[in-house]
């Protein structure tokens, strides 16, 4: 979310999901919305039925793309040149919102100068999207009063993810499509509480509510409440932890010393992280590993201590959705077996360190969050109970929450244009590895499948790892529907059942990472965006061949 943070000052969905109902133009990028965010797709269907225009930017011809007025089927990894092309067209056709730029933004001239260098023919060649389509997209997006951009991991999971996001933000600012109801830039979050985990500062560089680690006032506030001095140095990111600090030399003055012990709560890096072999080596090499989870995951089997955790149905707590809505989950049943909620587990360890973390209830924890986090200042459980939740920022008990962000001004003051340039994918295709592999999610499963693969209905619907391939490629490789195909990258090998579909462009493959039988992240590269540290999951070079039975 670093992209939006640098341009707008806040890395969250600027609108509410319901506002999409009233959009006139929706630009969807890198999101298989109908499958991954059905409730967002529903709004898009609704507003398109009422006459709105839909532009989809995606290398795959997904269901939502079939439904679009304009589908820009770009070559993967060319978002930045495509958007630069669109923005150049907007300038050419004089559709720029001068007043908005003047009043609300900075660094426009650098942006304009860069755009004036753009050659549309070259953009068309790089992106594989025709000039005519680019111009049309520019007109449709810029001319409407209320245009919304929705993007998902197809934009961020690139080596240039931050720059990609900034490009979308640039586009929105260029045409004044932010800061209002029904128009904005909306990243769709993949997991149920990604937003909340960020808000609660499960991040190495901020304190809860994105408060600065360096601000003496903030530090003092936390010190008073927690009774200890807070550590000063910024922490390391997930990939630095799970890759033994070995592959992340760039960006660090000196190699960080490798992690020796880990506590992992409800995560399964052994499937979800790129370069699994590195992850496994790192985790095996740890002096001590503690995992708390509801199932014995691929990660948990490597642990020294495994705690049985309670599932969402077994606890009271809040989660924050994509549109910043903090909602209360009620407890349906008592914890299964002898499992405990994670806060109780952590409190148990803390007490053995001589630190008291016993809370009467999760409501009491939330009271502490309210006290220390202005963003969540009014999120008391009693307010959330019997309601549909509140959208942050919500400063105190009297605040009703915030439907859309950046009203009247950006969180950071002025929105900043960040010109971006095309970055070639980290791993180019070659004769030996001629296919471009895109990874993502499937409709019936969730993340590493620890939950969905134990749901008999979902398993029946989708029971094994599939790979999508264009029928022409299939024909060339002698593949028929249901054949097994072996996919190799420079790092690993996986076997899939092939699905031939014209959703894919020739030369591109798509698979999901839900199945431990085909650990897709043995194939993916460990390169990541230097700022956001988001791995380039969306592109790697592979070869494919039929598996003889």
């Amino acid at each position: 979310m670093a992209g939006l943070a640098t341009t707008f000052g806040s890395g969250a969905m600027t609108n509410s999901i319901n506002e999409l109902d009233h959009a006139q133009v929706v630009l969807v990028s890198g999101s298989n919305t109908t499958e991954a965010h059905p409730q967002v797709a529903r709004r898009i269907y609704g507003c398109v039925d009422r006459g709105a225009k839909l532009i989809v930017i995606d290398p795959r011809r997904t269901k939502i793309a079939r439904y679009a007025d304009l589908h820009l089927q770009l070559r993967p990894g060319t978002d930045i040149p495509l958007l630069n092309g669109i923005m150049r067209s907007i300038i050419d056709e004089n559709l720029v919102d001068d007043l908005f730029i003047e009043m609300r933004t900075e660094n426009f001239f650098a942006m304009r100068d860069m755009l004036l260098q753009i050659d549309l023919d070259q953009v068309a060649a790089t992106t594989n999207v025709s000039k005519c389509m680019i111009r049309q997209a520019a007109r449709i997006y810029a001319q409407a009063q209320r245009s919304v951009i929705c993007y998902c991991l197809g934009v961020t999971q690139h080596i240039c993810g931050t720059s990609n996001v900034q490009s979308y933000a640039n586009l929105a600012m260029l045409t004044g499509h932010v800061e209002q109801e029904f128009t904005g830039v909306d990243p769709l979050r993949g997991q149920n509480n990604v937003q909340g985990a960020c808000d609660m500062a499960a991040l190495p560089n901020v304190l809860p509510g994105y408060q600065s680690l360096d601000d003496p006032g903030v530090r003092n506030k936390f010190k008073q409440s927690w009774g200890v001095e807070l550590p000063k140095t910024q922490g390391v990111t997930l990939l630095d932890m799970t890759h033994g600090g070995s592959v992340w030399s760039e960006g660090f003055e000196q190699l960080p010393e490798p992690i020796r012990a880990m506590y992992i709560m409800g995560e399964n890096p052994m499937l979800s992280d790129p370069g699994i072999k590195h992850v496994e080596a790192t985790l095996r090499d740890l002096d001590f590993l503690v995992v708390a989870d509801i199932f014995l995951t691929e990660t948990a089997v490597l642990a020294d201590v495994v705690f049985p955790a309670a599932s969402f149905a077994e606890k009271i707590g809040t989660v924050t959705n994509s549109e910043r809505r903090v909602q209360l989950m009620n407890q349906a049943i008592t914890p299964v077996g002898n499992s405990r909620t994670d806060d109780k587990i952590i409190a148990g360890i803390a007490s053995r360190f001589g630190y008291d973390m016993e809370y009467e209830s999760s409501a009491e924890i939330m009271e502490e969050i309210c006290l220390l986090t202005p963003l969540y200042g009014g999120m008391y459980h009693d307010r959330l109970k019997g309601s549909w939740g509140l959208q942050w920022p919500c400063s105190d008990r009297t605040h009703d929450g915030t439907q859309y962000l950046h009203k009247y001004s950006f969180t950071r003051g002025r929105g900043r244009f960040e010109p971006g340039d095309h970055v070639e994918p980290a791993e180019p295709l070659s004769e030996e590895y001629p296919f471009l592999l895109i990874t993502g999610r499937a409709y019936h499963h969730y993340h590493t499948g620890t939950m969905t693969r134990r749901s008999h209905t979902l398993v029946r619907e989708h029971d094994r790892p599939y790979i999508d391939m264009h029928p022409e490629d299939g024909k060339r490789l002698g593949l028929q529907r249901g054949d097994m195909v072996q996919v190799d990258s420079r790092r690993g090998t996986c076997n899939f059942t092939v699905k031939l579909t014209d959703q894919m462009a020739p030369g591109e493959l798509y698979c999901d990472f839900h199945f431990h039988e085909a650990p897709v992240n043995t194939l993916t590269i460990s390169c990541s965006d230097p700022v956001a540290r988001c791995p380039e999951f969306k592109i790697c070079a592979v070869k494919a061949e039929k598996v003889a039975l």
Partner: protein
């Protein structure tokens, strides 16, 4: 049968759903008609969210590695071992050699508690989660 309102755990939409509970077992799930996001709708994952909860694979007891194998132990023992292990590394290498992964599938309260534990008890900012994955 009781109907308990919860939030779907399967994506960032945050759909409101009812868990149908009978004899401390979740036997079904259905959407909430008036929820502002889901408005009476769930996707296929939401409709079947109850199916994993009582899976026999659910971990029931804490496990500790003994002679290379994970064996069930009491909570007290597991917490002792976990605390001792973390303490040992902290003392030997310093707090910044401990890493903590939090979860985008856990509640805000649990995330808050884990980052507080990391910062206040372990004494490091080495905490992250899989937002980028």
């Amino acid at each position: 049968m009781r109907d308990v309102l919860s939030v779907c755990t399967y994506c960032g939409c945050g759909c409101g759903l009812y868990l149908h509970v009978e004899n401390n077992q979740v036997v079904g799930a259905s959407p909430s008609r008036n929820h502002p996001v889901s408005r009476n709708n769930l996707c296929v994952k939401g409709w079947h969210v109850h199916e994993f909860i009582h899976s026999p694979d659910r971990l029931s007891d804490p496990l500790v590695r003994k002679d290379g194998r994970l064996v069930p132990v009491s909570w007290n023992e597991a917490l002792d071992v976990a605390a001792a292990g973390l303490k040992g590394v902290k003392e030997r290498y310093g707090p910044d050699r401990i890493g903590v992964l939090s979860s985008a599938k856990c509640s805000n309260e649990e995330n808050y508690i884990l980052q507080k534990f990391t910062r206040a008890v372990l004494g490091t900012n080495n905490i992250d989660h899989c937002a980028r994955l």
